[in-house]
Structure formats: C-alpha cells, structure tokens
C-alpha cells in the first residue's frame, strides 16, 4: 500500500516475555484498530490464518488477552521458494479499566478479522441531566 506510511510488516509480540510458551514457533502481535463510542469500545484485530476454533480470549485481572494459533507447518509437496512474511501464532494483551462491563464482551470472527465489542459499564455511560426551570 504505497499511500500508507504505517507498518506493513508483521510485528513480533512483546507480551510473551513474561512466561515461556509451550508451543514452538514465532508469535506476532496482530495489527489492531481501537474505536471508542459513548457506549462501547471496539477492538478490531487482523488474525490472518487463524482458525475460529483456536481463538482464545481471556480476561485476567483486567488484562484482556487475544490469542490465535496458526498452522505454521510447511505446505506438503511444496518448497518455499520466496518468503516475505513469517508464519506464527498471534497474541496481544490490553489493559482494561473498570469502565468496561467485562461480562458483556462480545466477539465476532470473519475472514481473518476478529471484532471485539466491549460495552461500557452503566456507571460511566454519559448521562443527560435535564435542567428544570421552576
């Protein structure tokens, strides 16, 4: 994409330094878009090659972790002649604040894109206070 100055290459994940992984291979941090509206926060992540069933979304002590496994075994009967991208799993974590209602998070996966909708807790939603005149 010539008109974009953003990073085109996949970035290796920085979240995995705390604990060792049991699966072999590289881990990448998926590119994400984060949008906020008055009622919710939306996280859209690119997870190309991830099967829907291998997606793991966990919340532990206000840390939301996305994880997706990719089959990185070589294609049978072929030899890799030229490589521009590496194949590996995806993982990335986000800190959640108490503004998010953690019980109502929804996830949708389609064509390699994961969309998370994190509704805001009732107490932080903007309230309109009518001013009465007497």
């Amino acid at each position: 994409m010539a008109d974009k100055k953003t990073q085109v290459q996949k970035q290796e994940s920085r979240d995995i330094k705390t604990a060792e992984r049991t699966r072999w291979g590289k881990v990448f941090a998926p590119a994400v878009d984060i949008l906020e509206t008055a009622h919710e926060l939306k996280i859209i992540a690119d997870l190309p090659g991830v099967n829907k069933d291998s997606i793991n979304i966990t919340i532990d002590q206000d840390v939301l972790t996305l994880q997706g496994d990719v089959d990185s075994s070589p294609v049978e009967g072929y030899e890799l002649e030229y490589r521009e991208y590496d194949i590996g799993d995806f993982q990335r974590s986000f800190n959640l604040t108490d503004t998010i209602d953690q019980n109502k998070i929804e996830a949708n996966y389609n064509n390699g894109v994961l969309e998370l909708v994190l509704p805001k807790a009732e107490k932080v939603k903007p309230k309109i206070i009518e001013v009465k005149t007497s």
Binding site: M1, A2, D3, K4, T6, Q7, V8, Q9, K10, A31, V32, D33, I34, L35, E36, T37, A38, I44, D46, L47, P48, G49, V50, N51, K52, V75, G77, Y78, E79, L80, E81, Y82, R83, E84, Y85, I87, N110, N111, G112, V113
Partner: protein, 140 residues
C-alpha cells in the same frame, strides 16, 4: 573448575556468514509491498499465498499477464460515526496493486484461488509447454 573454551574465529565466521546472508542479492524480500506474499513451488506447480485479512473474494482481483501474476484489491476503513473516535489505527486500508513474477509459465485456464481465514492461496499448475522434456539421445 571447568571453563567452556571460546573460539573467537568461530564467532567471527558466524558473523561473517550472517553478513553475507544479509547482503545476498538472491534473497531480498520486498519489505514495503502489500500484501506480503510467500511463493511455494515444486516441479509441476506453484502457489502464491498472501495474508489479506478482512478481504473477501469480491475485493480481490487476480489476473495473469504471461508469467506475471497481478493482485489488485481494496479494503475500506471502518466508518467513523458520530461521537466515535479512533484510538489506534494500525490496520492497512486503501488500494493495493502488486505484480509478482512467477518462476515459470503457468496454465492460465487452471488457476485456482482459495480464500480461507484471511489467507489467499493461488494454486497454479505449470504450463505443459514449459515443463522440461527429456530427450533421448540416440547413440549410433
């Protein structure tokens, strides 16, 4: 006490090999082109794979000009509605147009492209006329 002996020449050779690999012309991936592709081959066919998350079959246009594969497509950014704002925008949007020279001529009629979980795989069988032919030499 035991000490591991360190061979400085081995270290230097290792660095030299790494440098040679870095400046080797035969492998120089195009780091800026989008989408990034991998090319797989065997004697009879070749396959190009590309990571195109969020694209559907209709968004990508694949064409072949002699031995050059052309990939074109576009993806729209999510629309920012009223009272909505982006905190981060790392995903790529817009148009892409990319040409990839294939290692051999392929049979244009038998190209098969599959989209699964955001990965595009284009299978291309080698053209019959391009396959190496064995010629028996008669010795008289």
């Amino acid at each position: 006490m035991f000490y591991r002996t360190i061979d400085p020449w081995r270290e230097i050779n290792e660095i030299q090999r790494e440098m040679n690999r870095l400046f080797d012309n035969s492998y120089r991936p195009n780091r800026l082109a989008y989408p990034a592709i991998n090319l797989w081959t065997n004697a009879d066919k070749t396959m190009v794979t590309a990571e195109l998350p969020g694209y559907s079959k209709e968004d990508v246009d694949i064409s072949l000009i002699y031995d050059v594969l052309r990939l074109r497509g576009s993806r729209k950014a999510p629309e920012c509605k009223e009272n909505e704002c982006f905190h981060r925008q790392e995903r790529n949007y817009g148009l892409f147009d990319r040409e990839i020279k294939l290692p051999f001529l392929v049979d244009a009629g038998k190209i098969d492209a599959v989209f699964k979980d955001g990965i595009l795989r284009i299978h291309m069988p080698r053209a019959e006329e391009d396959k190496p032919k064995k010629i028996d030499i008669q010795v008289k």
